[in-house]
């Protein structure tokens, strides 16, 4: 087990290096120049000297190979450099936004897990009943509805309903405060995006739970358990649900990894200053250092989440040996 974990962690290194080389090359293949965006966007008629000063200041006047070596050397030392756009340390830029994305991701996961597993299980147990029909409709709608659209609609709904009731349109605050600073304000900011994202997340997990449960319920060992006269509750909880959880845990893990950095539009809709919004901004501004660091972060989270899921497999199914 320990050897397996060490091997998996060691495998992260070539994965990160490969991702680093890929993002480095891709960013530079995109046509554009951060200095042109910076100097030209304000309509000022800048000079060639200003452009050269800007290039030298952020180091993009150096050859690619030098830039790549500097990037990898920084990576080895966990030094992600300075944002080319803001001049602030990349770590600071990410650190200030990471908690927002993490909080939404955790809340969305809680909402998804709390709803998806019981509803998916009930749906499977009551296959083809009206309950199953309702749950399936709910989950298909969740998969089919884009989160950003749902987000916009939910804000407009809140605005319209409050205006109709009180005459004063209301919406959740848009200036994020941390949970530790003001829990009520924080929850009122984060709840709607978490619900919006959690709905889709829940729908995917719910369908996976239902299909996995249906499959497991047809297994011989379930029939054997019933033949032994085991109580149905024990059959479902101990034998069926536990075994059906393997694909569900995979889906939950993948979705969680996606939410860190993947809430691009949702964060914009709710004005959440998270990693997704930062990612879009850094690509738009052609901020190489920041984009590279963000991609590395997302890759690392994806790899570690996968590792965690694999470890959970062993816990859920004793037949799996992590050697």
């Amino acid at each position: 087990m320990h050897r397996y974990i060490i091997n998996r962690i060691l495998l992260v290194i070539p994965t990160l290096l490969g991702a680093a080389a890929l993002v480095f090359a891709l960013m530079r293949l995109i046509p554009g120049d951060i200095c042109l965006v910076r100097l030209g966007s304000g309509g000022t008629s800048f000079t060639e000297q200003a452009l050269q000063t800007c290039h030298a200041e952020i180091g993009i006047d150096k050859p690619w190979i030098v830039q790549f070596i500097q990037f990898i050397w920084g990576l080895v030392r966990f030094d992600f450099g300075i944002s080319m756009w803001s001049g602030k340390p990349v770590v600071d830029e990410i650190a200030s936004r990471f908690p927002v994305s993490l909080e939404v991701a955790v809340m969305a996961t809680i909402i998804a897990v709390v709803l998806a597993i019981p509803l998916g299980t009930i749906s499977a147990l009551k296959q083809n009943s009206w309950i199953d029909l309702v749950v399936r409709t709910f989950s298909i709608a969740g998969i089919a509805t884009p989160s950003f659209w749902l987000g916009i609609m939910s804000i407009l709904l809140v605005l319209d309903v409050t205006q109709a009731i009180s005459g004063h349109p209301w919406m959740p605050p848009i200036d994020y405060v941390s949970f530790w600073k003001d829990p009520i304000r924080n929850l009122s900011i984060v709840m709607l995006p978490a619900l919006t994202v959690g709905y889709r997340y829940c729908a995917v997990s719910m369908r996976m739970t239902r299909s996995a449960m249906l499959e497991v319920l047809r297994e011989d060992y379930i029939r054997t358990a019933r033949a032994k006269g085991l109580v149905e509750k024990i059959i479902i909880n101990r034998h069926a649900l536990k075994n059906a959880m393997l694909p569900v845990v995979t889906v939950i893990g993948l979705e969680f990894a996606f939410l860190i950095g993947g809430l691009v539009v949702t964060e914009q809709v709710f004005n959440l200053n998270g990693i997704g919004r930062l990612m879009v901004l850094s690509v738009q501004n052609q901020d190489y250092t920041l984009t590279q660091a963000l991609v590395m972060l997302v890759v690392a989270i994806a790899v570690l989440t996968n590792l965690l899921v694999d470890l959970l497999y062993a816990g859920l199914d004793p037949r799996i040996r992590l050697n």
Partner: protein, 535 residues
């Protein structure tokens, strides 16, 4: 009897008006929450940045030497002192401007602000030291040197007299920094990129990266009685829908850049008189650039034909209902005294009053140039307002003379790159400026070797002769004529540029916000000192 009745009527009218006047008496106190339509400013340094995100974030914390009159910001010629005591009369044949600096002004750290700080700040902007970025240095080609002979005097020596100097000096990015910090080897000019420390109406109180910036009233502000507000909070929100919803729900009171017509109409419909709208012509214009290195756009007849095809007078009213554009004008801001009159404008290709005659001439020119079945791709920026709207409209207009155009929308970075590398045939750009200063604002239309922002890839010495004549002319009448000749040459004779329409700035905001006046630029009048809240 008639006089008596008139007097009585006047008294009654005055009495009726009294409550209204009383309502308009500024009130002190309160917190203004406003939206900043950006994720965050790149840095806080106004000397190096060009984006409004920096202005809307940090302008309330800084002073400037002179500025557009905050009580009359729609004027293109009304400049007043901020740190100086009175607007100077130029001497030495218009080549020397001597400013007397207010005494008793303090930076927010308590240090006194003197002429040395003003001169050091302007020297950094105009003559940036090696390694310091100053995109606006090209606006000050006329300045020879800036000096502070004593603590209350700053002198600008010009190489030649020009009316372009004062508007350039009123640049809202011309923040006054402390010389001590600029000269400190451990800090230097780069210190201001991450720190805010000025002498403006508000003191910096806090910043959450990409979230909000907070300021508190500066009790030592040198304009007595100002600012009215106790606190300001700027919330960053790059998405327009969020900003509109924030104003609707009163999470924020105002956003200073401007909204499209549909958002104005929605807010008015939903909130009625709780929303006030101010509108203005915007010192930003949509301009078509033709790559003259590519055939057939090296032929002025083809370029003229494309301009002649556009029905600006007919299209502008309809387009203004859906997009941030409205006013028909030349390359000179329409409200400027230097702008051509309507009669003059109507002599320029593409601005003729009879569109049928204009399009017939366009077709004739294309036939004469052997480009009857012209087909090309219009490069455009992947931004909704007003790029996409104007681009689609142009394609339709050009189809009316048999020209087939497709549109390629690129994100900002690749769009700039395509322009710079000449990897386009025809391009829709925007020329956007702060203080209206036509002599500087037309710089992007100067030949490519002079202006790095002219992507037309052409050289034209004759154009430079016309420009320099206008730049050096000090007689207003003659300068007006010179500028018209320059504009006609650029837009008609050589048709280097196709001016489409000027943008239109629409600012809907909560009616309890008082004192703020719209200007032709979203960069101008943003220190927020004259804003007060009627609630």
């Amino acid at each position: 009897m008639t006089r008596l009745m008139a007097l009585l009527g006047g008294c009654i009218a005055a009495l009726v008006a009294l409550p209204a006047l009383a309502d308009e008496t500024p009130k002190h106190g309160g917190t203004l929450t406003y939206m900043i339509p950006a994720d965050a400013p790149p840095t806080f340094d106004g000397h190096r940045e060009t984006t409004y995100a920096t202005i809307h974030t940090a302008a309330p914390y800084y002073s400037v030497l002179i500025r557009v009159n905050p009580d009359n910001p729609s004027s293109t010629t009304d400049f007043t002192c901020d740190l100086c005591t009175e607007m100077p009369k130029p001497t030495d044949g218009g080549k020397t401007y001597t400013f007397n600096i207010r005494t008793g002004v303090k930076f927010h750290n308590g240090d006194p602000l003197t002429a040395a700080d003003v001169a050091a700040s302007w020297n950094e902007i105009i003559f940036p030291p090696k390694g310091v970025l100053s995109p606006r240095s090209s606006n000050f080609v006329m300045v020879d040197k800036v000096e502070a002979p004593d603590p209350t005097t700053v002198v600008f020596h010009l190489k030649f007299a020009t009316s372009a100097f004062l508007p350039a000096l009123a640049d809202p990015f011309g923040w006054i920094y402390e010389k001590k910090i600029l000269d400190d080897p451990s800090k230097g000019p780069h210190w201001y990129e991450k720190n805010i420390m000025g002498s403006g109406p508000f003191k910096f109180a806090g910043y959450e990266l990409g979230q909000e910036i907070k300021g508190d009233r500066n009790p030592d502000y040198y304009h007595k009685g100002l600012p009215y507000l106790d606190h300001i909070i700027g919330i960053f929100a790059p998405k327009q829908a969020t900003r509109v919803e924030a104003i609707r729900s009163n999470r924020a009171a105002i956003e200073f850049r401007g909204f499209p017509p549909a958002s104005r109409d929605d807010l008015k419909k939903q909130l009625g008189d709780k929303i006030t709208v101010q509108e203005s012509d915007w010192n930003c214009g949509s301009v078509v650039t033709l790559n003259e290195k590519k055939k057939p756009f090296d032929d002025p007849r083809v370029r003229r034909a494309l301009s002649l095809a556009i029905n600006r007078w007919g299209g502008a009213p309809a387009l203004s209902k859906i997009a941030d554009v409205r006013t028909v004008g030349s390359i000179i801001f329409p409200a400027s005294p230097l702008a051509p009159s309507k009669a003059q404008l109507e002599t320029i290709a593409g601005f003729w009053p009879d569109i049928n005659k204009s399009r017939a001439e366009a077709k004739r020119l294309l036939k004469e140039a052997g480009a009857e079945n012209l087909t090309f791709t219009l490069l455009n920026r992947a931004v909704d307002q007003p790029y996409k709207y104007v681009g689609i409209w142009l394609i339709d207009e050009w189809s009316k003379i048999g020209v087939h155009v497709t549109q390629e929308m690129l994100p900002t970075g690749p769009w700039f790159e395509a322009q710079r590398t000449g990897n386009f045939t025809v391009d829709l750009q925007a020329n956007c400026h702060s203080v209206v200063n036509p002599l500087i604002d037309v710089q992007p239309y100067l030949p490519s070797s002079v202006s790095k922002q002219n992507y037309g890839n052409y050289e034209d010495p004759e154009e430079m002769v016309l420009y320099n004549k206008a730049l050096h002319e000090t007689d207003p009448q003659k300068q007006h004529e010179d500028m018209f000749q320059f504009a006609k040459y650029v837009m008609d004779t050589k048709a280097h540029k196709i001016m489409v329409l000027w943008w239109y700035r629409i600012v809907p905001y909560r009616s309890y916000v008082k004192g703020w006046k719209v200007s032709p630029s979203h960069y101008v009048n943003q220190d927020l000192s004259n804003i007060w809240l009627d609630q």
